[in-house]
Symmetry: C5
Subunit: 100 residues, 5 copies
Amino acid sequence: MKLGRVVGTVVSTIKSSGLNSHKLLLVCPLDLAADSVASKDGETFVAIDLAGAGEHEIVLVSYGSAARISAGTSDVPTDAAIVAVVDNVQIGERNAYSKG
Amino acid sequence: MKLGRVVGTVVSTIKSSGLNSHKLLLVCPLDLAADSVASKDGETFVAIDLAGAGEHEIVLVSYGSAARISAGTSDVPTDAAIVAVVDNVQIGERNAYSKG
Amino acid sequence: MKLGRVVGTVVSTIKSSGLNSHKLLLVCPLDLAADSVASKDGETFVAIDLAGAGEHEIVLVSYGSAARISAGTSDVPTDAAIVAVVDNVQIGERNAYSKG
Amino acid sequence: MKLGRVVGTVVSTIKSSGLNSHKLLLVCPLDLAADSVASKDGETFVAIDLAGAGEHEIVLVSYGSAARISAGTSDVPTDAAIVAVVDNVQIGERNAYSKG
Amino acid sequence: MKLGRVVGTVVSTIKSSGLNSHKLLLVCPLDLAADSVASKDGETFVAIDLAGAGEHEIVLVSYGSAARISAGTSDVPTDAAIVAVVDNVQIGERNAYSKG
């Protein structure tokens, strides 16, 4: 799974019926290698939201078939799902992120 | 899932029978990191079309087994499917894309 | 799926039994972003051949579990399969490739 | 599978129920190409822990559906799992890593 | 599938039980684009051995769920398996590799 930040939304009328009941959010992956949290802008993707995530929140995203393991998702033709809203990221002794 | 633009078509006579009933479209992934929508030309791929997408339209593409979740696709040997035609992409306060 | 060119063959005596009945071909992915068709030499991989592809032909390749969807492939331990021989690739108004 | 080092933890209250019973660890992939073990900082990801791994330990990580093969994981919406704590890595005649 | 060279071994005592009966080998992917066979050192990974591969041998590796298709592997939490020992690689008219 990867950490990412919710940066936007995607709206579509003509789509596979399995996508009807899920919000489509734009997520930008985060790079935790630096001393602070930075964005990997060029790798932004679209995920269904399974955690009620809000814009700017840091979330945990599962890719591939893992995106269809949670209840009610087996018929959704998606390869990415927000499976958690992140409260805290700890790297060694450092508190790298805390939800404000 | 990723956003992409339909840029062309692929025609084949000799193919796995599961591909017979689906249109094969060339899709170029889009980079939403910049202030405008830019193309990742070198990463163009081929997807089956499940949304009746037209050339130049911006679409949502699912990869991997997600491409075979929609009705009538379980026997199609594909790893990519256009699952939606995109109407609108909103990034923060900015309207990054609207179908014309 | 990706477009690629058949560039060679791989022969093996000691292998998983599921590979016994399939030809192993070396495939070089193609970059369609430029005005002409160019090869991504460093990304050459091995695929089973489900379309009777010949050397130098341009083919369509499916990756992952999609490589085991066609008839007779469910027991083959492969993650890549040639699922079509390409006749024509059209990019916008331009005929990017036609089988000679 | 890839070798990685456990570098931190992720805490979340709002999450898919399948994630409830598993610890979420931050793992940094290791590059074994150099003469010593180096970190690929920019590729840090999140995995569930199936091996009781401790911080700083070198672990073996499985990706994709492989992360849900072990007992009790079929309902966990994850695409990465720590499946082993590494004791020793041998590269040719050289002992590249031994657990201290 | 990709071609790679066996470069080492990984030993682990604490691991998912599904890994107990399989040898864990370090494999370095090979780049066949150049005129000779070169190693992609930075992409070394760990695979289970299904072909009795020896150190320095060139092997064929399957990734993802393909690694668990061969007999006796459905319960192994791995995403990579050596499925063949390579005897010969032919690129066009050139014999790129022959097992010594």
